[in-house]
Symmetry: C2
Subunit: 388 residues, 2 copies
């Protein structure tokens, strides 16, 4: 394979993040058959670890055999039948994707929107929910396209009040900040492995609570996707062990190890680490005269969208970072393309040395681009670390 022997990229984009070597190493474990009792034990253990990380007691908690978007599709195709009303909160790419999926299922789509970079207003969500009385209310926790961290708990209350299932995208938030599935009355949630879980992309943790299960069992039509049909997938991951499709064995090994590292670090310690590095990064960026897209109280710590200064060539800067410094950061999406950089601080990538390195390099590059800026980015970050 090409690029062998080159140093590893420092992944500070919107995901994937860097993996701990032990997570990659886990995939070298020889394969087991998907019905081998030894593998079934690993599945059980992985599910239990997932429940701890997702803070849920939901029996149906398992990794879907696809990336985060497969998790999104799995939630909607299982819970929505043609004609069902669905209210989707849209303030970025992933809310937009949810809406697209609802239409493909033949659901009756309602949306409540906020400007990209701003959170949804609970009052607007409540009004929309009362008006359309949806079967499902869906929202993204950490919008990867903008870096907005949506307060979830108030929306969970609204969903209960109008009798809707509450569906939450935790792809980017899971493992990097608090995701309290049961405490927030979330009925269905899905994540991804390649963000704050710091596992390679390829699996989507999914959890359905009892109300979601009741909706699944009350369906009048078959789930439109055979591959993602939880009425069957759950029998493989549950006690029946009925063969459905061959599980991605090696990816499950990797996820198992990544979750063990996470539990070993401690959820609260991990969230604190993400908040601290986020604060240090923001302090450094602001010392450079840069502005964040999102208002302070709504910033997702693991996805930092910063406005690109006037006159700076987005692609050129990202190209220099990648080619000269081996650092990946993300560009903007949709209306924010060319207007923002997205700096990820996820899982194993979320470390003081990465923050310091990026700030130093960015300071140098922006200077070379003739941007009038203040210096001392790394020092500003250092002050945050010192005060912590």
């Amino acid at each position: 394979m090409r690029n062998e022997g080159k140093p590893a990229r420092i992944l500070m984009g919107p995901g994937p993040s860097n993996c701990d070597p032990s997570v990659l190493e886990a995939m070298t474990r020889p394969l087991l058959g998907h019905l081998d009792p030894e593998f079934l034990a690993i599945m059980d253990e992985t599910q239990e670890l997932l429940r701890r990380v997702m803070k849920t007691r939901n029996r149906l908690t398992l990794p879907v055999s696809g990336t985060g978007s497969a998790g999104m599709e799995a939630c909607f195709v299982n819970l929505v039948e043609p004609g069902d009303r669905v209210l989707v909160c849209v303030n970025g790419v992933f809310g937009t994707r949810m809406a697209d999926i609802v239409e493909r299922i033949g659901g009756r789509l309602f949306t409540v929107e906020a400007e990209w970079g701003k959170p949804l207003d609970p009052t607007a969500v409540e009004a929309a929910a009362r008006a359309c009385l949806p079967k499902v209310l869906a929202v993204v926790h950490a919008e990867t396209s903008t870096g907005v961290l949506q307060p979830i708990e108030p929306l969970g209350n609204i969903a209960r009040e109008v009798g809707a299932l509450f569906l939450v995208d935790v792809v980017t938030s899971l493992g990097g900040c608090n995701v309290d599935t049961d405490g927030w009355q979330v009925d269905a949630a899905y994540g991804g492995t390649q963000k704050c879980l710091s596992c390679p992309p390829g699996l989507a943790p999914l959890s359905f609570g009892s109300r979601a299960l009741s909706a699944l069992e009350a369906r009048k039509t078959k789930v439109q996707s055979w591959y993602l049909d939880m009425t069957m997938v759950r029998k493989y991951w549950g006690t029946e062990r009925t063969y459905h499709h061959t599980a991605p064995i090696s990816m499950v090994y990797a996820l198992n190890q990544a979750l063990k590292l996470l539990i070993g670090e401690g959820l609260e310690a991990r969230f604190k680490r993400h908040r601290l590095n986020h604060r240090a990064l923001v302090a450094g960026l602001e010392a450079l005269g840069l502005s964040m897209l999102v208002e302070a109280q709504y910033r997702a710590p693991m996805l930092n969208a910063v406005l690109i200064p006037e006159g700076v060539d987005d692609r050129k800067v990202r190209g220099t970072l990648l080619n000269d410094y081996n650092i990946e950061i993300g560009g903007g999406l949709g209306p924010l393309a060319g207007r923002t950089w997205r700096i990820g601080l996820m899982g194993s990538s979320c470390r003081p040395e990465n923050v310091t390195l990026l700030l130093n390099v960015l300071e140098r590059i922006l200077k070379a681009h003739g941007v009038p800026n203040r210096s001392g980015a790394a020092a500003a970050a250092e002050a945050v670390y010192a005060a912590s």
Copy 2:
């Protein structure tokens, strides 16, 4: 993770097969971003390797981000719209699964059937195709549930005559016997990585020819699956490089390496190896007095279904093989549950030492079960190897 330090299983079931250590090792390569030019180069190379293994010049040849069943679903959801007539050949689990998927799409399903363990009769397929004039004619090449290898070329001619798209499941055959996508006029094919490609499960090679592309472009409705929508996925794997979903990076590394090993061995040499080990295994099984489910000329070399002798406890024998000898073989599915064992000889698992070991162990176990049998299983296999 549990089971560490234990010897690796010898995987001689219906898949996964054992992987070459270099394939597992490939996954320890540090992650690259899914839009990193270095990763895009690996994608290009992987596609070109896939084209060689699938014997096609189809531009749209790529690994779907899911297991073989996701490949199946991807083909149907992209090529079939509600109301479209589809003729599915059914003689085992995977034809049955195809039919299920067609119904979930709202396609008009027609089937032509054969007894499990027998191939489809081309005359019957032709009559059915002429009667229903389907948009898609679908068939499984190597039926993993029975071990039947269906002659594909005659069915390709029928599909052309009736103007149908020809869709072929090559999950189990790909990399183990000839799969001539272009030569057989196959319009759409999908495989799996964990059979004769000897890569971990998690990707599904897929190839669409120009007629399939035309059908995709002429669709009146959106593809019902967002995740598997080839109108978008192809733009990420094609020159546009438009982000769709994050590719399963590490799995692509593994597939790239597995395909390189395959090309290094040579397609014809690999097919010959599969045929030889298959013949040796069958000679040994017959020396034990066992009978194969499938008539000699229709046997898939990589999946050997053998009838369980009267009075032998299926689960007990497979349990002894797994627990005492570390060997996995498969049980029967559907109407063949308890009636057959399925012995896989796939990719890296397809080796004389595995054949010899299994025959010796099986001879011993059957004797212990008091089955009246002849001995000399390994010697019979040896004779086949000696004569080759």
